[in-house]
């Protein structure tokens, strides 16, 4: 009886250890899957986590292409995520849930995390583009025009003013802007467009 109990205890111990090990492996697998599912990769060159669900909302922190964010919550359009210890909202199409997402040549050259796919970027990358445009003087000239277009940058502040002036966007922003109304001025009206005043 004593011997039987000893074997029983030993078997019980082994079974317990086996079950514990299986449980541990499972827990680790689940934890890894959960961590992978909670990582978002930024796919815009430069953008921001915002305090509110608005592309023009107050900025919390800047994030760049290739940065990893931790997902906190989500809805149909937005993710709430954490980066560098700050939490804010980012639109779904600014990030990828695929850790192997192809990044731009600029990002890879800049030393951001190189994904598995970014080592063999398909389709048009800077290398292919260089070859492509070198084949035609007219095309190369068109690319130069495009490069100039890309240097144009309209600031968020200008867009916000433009929206407010035209009674567009969030009506709450109109009221905020109107609160500190300046006293009537006798100065001549400048010839600048109304949204730039």
């Amino acid at each position: 009886m004593k011997q039987k109990n000893r074997w029983s205890r030993r078997a019980l111990g082994l079974a317990g250890a086996g079950g514990g090990l299986a449980g541990l492996i499972l827990a680790l697998a689940l934890a890894a899957a959960a961590l992978a599912a909670d990582v978002l990769i930024v796919t815009q060159k430069e953008t921001y986590l915002r305090k509110t669900k608005s592309l023009l909302g107050p900025k919390v922190t800047k994030v760049q292409e290739g940065d990893e964010l931790v997902r906190i919550e989500e809805d149909d359009t937005w993710f709430k995520a954490e980066a560098k210890g700050s939490v804010g909202w980012i639109p779904r199409s600014s990030v990828s849930q695929d850790r192997k997402v192809v990044l731009s040549g600029d990002a890879v050259a800049g030393g951001v995390r190189a994904t598995e796919q970014s080592a063999g970027v398909r389709y048009f990358n800077p290398e292919v583009e260089r070859q492509y445009r070198a084949g035609s003087i007219a095309l190369d000239a068109a690319y130069k025009v495009l490069d100039r277009i890309e240097t144009r940058k309209t600031s968020e502040d200008a867009v916000t003013r433009f929206l407010r002036e035209g009674r567009l966007g969030d009506p709450a922003a109109w009221a905020t802007a109107e609160a500190p109304k300046p006293a009537a001025s006798t100065a001549p009206v400048a010839a600048t467009p109304p949204w730039k005043r």
């Binding site: 815009q44 608005s54 199409s93 970027v121 007219a138 495009l146 929206l163």
Partner: protein
């Protein structure tokens, strides 16, 4: 009695784990579909309401193209457009049109967020034409701007183009044209970055890179030609109208501005450009008629908007 209990517990934990993993994968898919469902609900009852449910499936199928890839493809298509049209030398108008476009793009978080943001550019030319390339590049002729009577109508044209890019209509054309050949090249290892090309397989890689470039060169020229002469399918245009109208409403512009612009172009008549690349005005108006009426407040600010539009256009 405790041994079966331990085994049962271990099995329960395993089963629960597997169920959790399955549930997680389903949740991931559902998150993408639910956004599209919201758009579908907005247009429920219209002839194109299924469009936005289709967007979820399309998004799934478009995972091979990251914003970075779309950007380089878009640059190639844009360069083709710019080799045929001159950019209008009018910084004030360029700035104004860009502000209208950015206003629409940044007021709608459902719109695509391209790698380097949106670019709206006016091209010289009296004909009516507006085209967009993947990666957020939108081009419209001076004639297109001049046909608009108000800023709201100009915004309607830009919202329609933003919708095309968001729905990845250009990418769809490019994929169908090049996928087969380029995929074969990619499987051989073409298109690697410079570091890889400089390796021991340098010559072979360079030859493959050249072949890949040649494949895309032909395809992009065809696609740019299609954009400017043939246009997207009738179905894609109606999809872009519906989503564009949603973007207009999301910015605070009246959706009716899209209807009034299409009506005017339809009544004026013409050939080539916009007339050759878009469905008949009656078809588009019938499709848009299913959209809900504009709320009253959209007319607030109409005078200011029309005034600044006329100042820039010199009217």
């Amino acid at each position: 009695m405790r041994h079966p209990a331990i085994a049962f517990t271990a099995l329960t934990v395993l089963a629960a784990g597997l169920l959790t993993l399955v549930a997680m994968s389903i949740t991931g898919c559902r998150a993408i579909e639910s956004g599209a469902d919201a758009l579908a609900n907005m247009t429920a009852g219209s002839a194109v309401s299924d469009v936005f449910r289709g967007t979820a499936r399309m998004a799934e199928g478009m995972r091979d193209y990251s914003p970075a890839e779309e950007y380089y493809i878009g640059r190639a298509v844009s360069a083709e457009i710019l080799s045929r049209f001159k950019v209008l030398e009018d910084p004030r108008l360029q700035e104004y049109v860009d502000l209208v476009g950015q206003s629409v793009a940044l007021s709608n978080p459902d719109a695509l967020q391209p790698l380097k943001g949106w670019r709206f550019t006016v091209l010289d030319g009296a004909e009516v034409n507006a085209v967009s390339a993947p990666g957020g590049f939108v081009f419209l002729t001076l004639g297109t701007v001049q046909r608009a009577r108000t800023e709201d109508e100009l915004a309607a044209v830009l919202a329609h183009e933003i919708a095309h890019v968001t729905l990845r209509h250009g990418i769809k054309s490019i994929s169908s044209a090049t996928k087969k050949k380029s995929l074969a090249l990619i499987l051989q290892g073409a298109g690697r970055t410079g570091a890889a090309v400089a390796g021991s397989q340098g010559d072979a890689d360079l030859a493959q890179l050249t072949e890949l470039t040649t494949t895309f060169a032909g395809a992009v020229q065809e696609i740019a030609g299609d954009l400017l002469t043939k246009g997207y399918s009738r179905e894609s245009e109606l999809e872009a109208d519906t989503l564009g109208a949603k973007f207009l409403g999301g910015t605070g512009y009246p959706r009716a501005a899209l209807t009034s612009y299409i009506k005017r172009l339809g009544s004026e008549g013409g050939s080539g450009g916009w007339y050759g690349t878009h469905p008949k005005a009656e078809d588009r108006l019938e499709s848009l008629a299913a959209l809900p009426a504009d709320p009253a407040q959209v007319l607030t600010g109409l005078a200011v908007r029309t005034d600044r539009f006329k100042k820039v256009l010199g009217g």
